[in-house]
Symmetry: C2
């Protein structure tokens, strides 16, 4: 297979990401979001919110990372953030998916994209921490603006959201007060399940 | 409104792009594609196919351009490539949409994103020519792999596709032979309407 054929095979294959359905609804509540449009939205988040990263960013790397961070879901599916059972097998399923999908690419591009995906997963660089922060912030906003349907469906508590949002505190600390405000408002509006411990602020 | 509030307002507003439906089907034929997931797909096309641009590219600018090139459709809707009536009013509708949507942003980001969108529209730089080439190539592949449904629905001829694909010849000339091959195969498989003039090759 020629280099171009390999590239096109990958590009056609990842079209399937448009049929991987997440738990979050669109902000108008009309339907659940898919992972392709979620990835697009995150990339625009990165363009506009990069000034809130704690250090100078290579935005090109952030964009590439966000654009491919979910492609393994073509094989592995989306794993709901609050689904403990599925989370346990997520790593192995996603590694197998990465082997197959990035394996469709020419060797140099396979290395680059696989590397970016591993970096996103490991959250060890400024870029990957920031990218992970956005990957938490976007569904928080989606859930909040769509009336918290996916939270209510799964009886999610403020503490669960708070823990889930921790990467924002690490990757985009300037946005952390916004997160606290949204969780507070969501609790007051009854979108989150009241919990035993009454306060969120440490 | 604070700077962050303006940015979030824009990011929530463009969520609506996920409900702007294009004519192209997903490659599995299951439904029509929306402009948000289309934009994501194009950006991944850019990452993988940048080597076919005719000159050195600033890939960061290409990615940003592709990620926001369709946001005006939130107000203006998608305009089908072969719909002459709607094409006539497209420019005015999209300028009004750009005024409103980019106008939600802080002034510096408004200038940057509006500038990138205008650049995409004008196709005068290497980056914008390449971005436009991908914006033609992706639906060509989608249509071909989904059995040409949107071509057949509108009795599109090989000549129409050929003319529609011209930006690829300008913006990514190394990919032009691929385009000719796909049009030829699509014609042979009956996905395009037979036309009076029997040959495509000039």
């Amino acid at each position: 297979m020629s280099r171009l054929e390999s590239q096109l095979t990958f590009l056609v294959e990842i079209d399937k990401l448009k049929n991987v359905i997440r738990r979050s609804l669109l902000t108008d509540g009309s339907r659940r979001e898919n992972s392709a449009e979620h990835s697009w939205h995150l990339a625009v988040f990165a363009i506009l919110l990069q000034e809130y990263a704690p250090a100078q960013l290579d935005i090109k790397r952030v964009l590439k990372m966000l654009l491919i961070h979910d492609v393994v879901e073509v094989d592995a599916g989306d794993t709901f953030a609050y689904d403990i059972g599925n989370l346990a097998t997520q790593h192995e399923r996603e590694q197998r998916a990465a082997d197959r999908l990035f394996g469709l690419l020419p060797a140099d591009q396979q290395r680059e994209l696989r590397g970016l995906w591993e970096e996103f997963e490991q959250q060890s660089t400024t870029e990957s921490k920031f990218a992970n922060a956005l990957d938490r912030l976007q569904p928080l906003l989606q859930n909040f603006h769509s009336g918290g349907q996916s939270w209510r469906d799964h009886s999610v508590t403020p503490e669960q959201v708070f823990e889930r949002m921790r990467p924002i505190e690490r990757g985009a600390p300037e946005l952390w007060p916004l997160v606290l405000e949204i969780i507070h408002n969501a609790s007051q509006r009854g979108l989150l399940k009241p919990s035993a411990t009454p306060t969120l602020v440490r």
